[in-house]
Assembly symmetry: C2
Homo-oligomer: 148 residues x 2
């Protein structure tokens, strides 16, 4: 039987935001970002790091494709790439086969900054998962992936 609107309102007193998944997800993400920011040396954000790392795997590729691979909106990936270009980590070039596309690739500096920070990135991952045992980490990662 479907709950009526009144039933739900009656249940309101029992509602606690700070027991909802969304509340925890936001905080967990915040904590990870803080840990990452602290661990990384070259003033790179988590999203910039995602873009750089993924670009290394799939370069050369278009901007939108990089966005898709890193779960970033077209508007978001644009800003991220712009900042990485400005800092000299990413290079852009027109696509000869497709006049719409901008081809992205890593520069020498981009490759260098990745190499210099992989360690810190792993430390950040470790720090985020620190409160969990080895078994808990595996379980948690598995469940977390399911709700992505």
């Amino acid at each position: 039987m479907q709950k009526s609107r009144e039933d739900r309102q009656a249940a309101a007193p029992d509602y606690h935001v700070d027991r909802q998944v969304g509340f925890f997800l936001r905080q967990a993400n915040q904590r990870h970002v803080a840990i990452f920011t602290n661990a990384i040396g070259d003033k790179l954000t988590t999203t910039q790091w995602s873009a750089l790392s993924k670009l290394k795997e799939i370069q050369p590729c278009s901007q939108n494709q990089l966005g898709r691979e890193t779960a970033m909106d077209v508007a978001t990936i644009k800003g991220v790439v712009d900042r990485l270009v400005k800092r000299g980590f990413v290079a852009t070039a027109p696509d000869r086969n497709d006049g719409r596309r901008v081809v992205l690739s890593l520069t020498e500096e981009g490759l260098a900054v990745i190499a210099a920070n992989v360690g810190a990135a792993l430390v950040a991952t470790e720090g985020t998962l620190a409160p969990l045992t080895s078994g808990e980490r595996m379980m948690f990662l598995e469940l977390l992936q399911k709700i992505c």
Copy 2:
């Protein structure tokens, strides 16, 4: 023995951003926000909802206190509260005992909008956890809380 910088660089090829907790946490949060936005009727964001719900529990309280209770920066909570005030959901008043503080409280409209959306908030929580079984949900929430 401490890993040298070279060792870490050598390990770089095995590194995959899309297998790190941070990558999943960001995406899971994004998915939840999308589900919540879709479920809610009155154009409320997840953070606005957190502020409203928490305020109902602890009102009257100062702006910074509400921020602390909802894990929001002083600058962040200011923006959130400003928007809620502008929409008539939250009222502000000077604190008689403390000249620095602004006392926040819910208006009638604020209480009404909470009552009208508790159901949708629960639906959003349900939707976010939908890929998990009942047992998995309990386990996941427990582990998630540990890394907040």
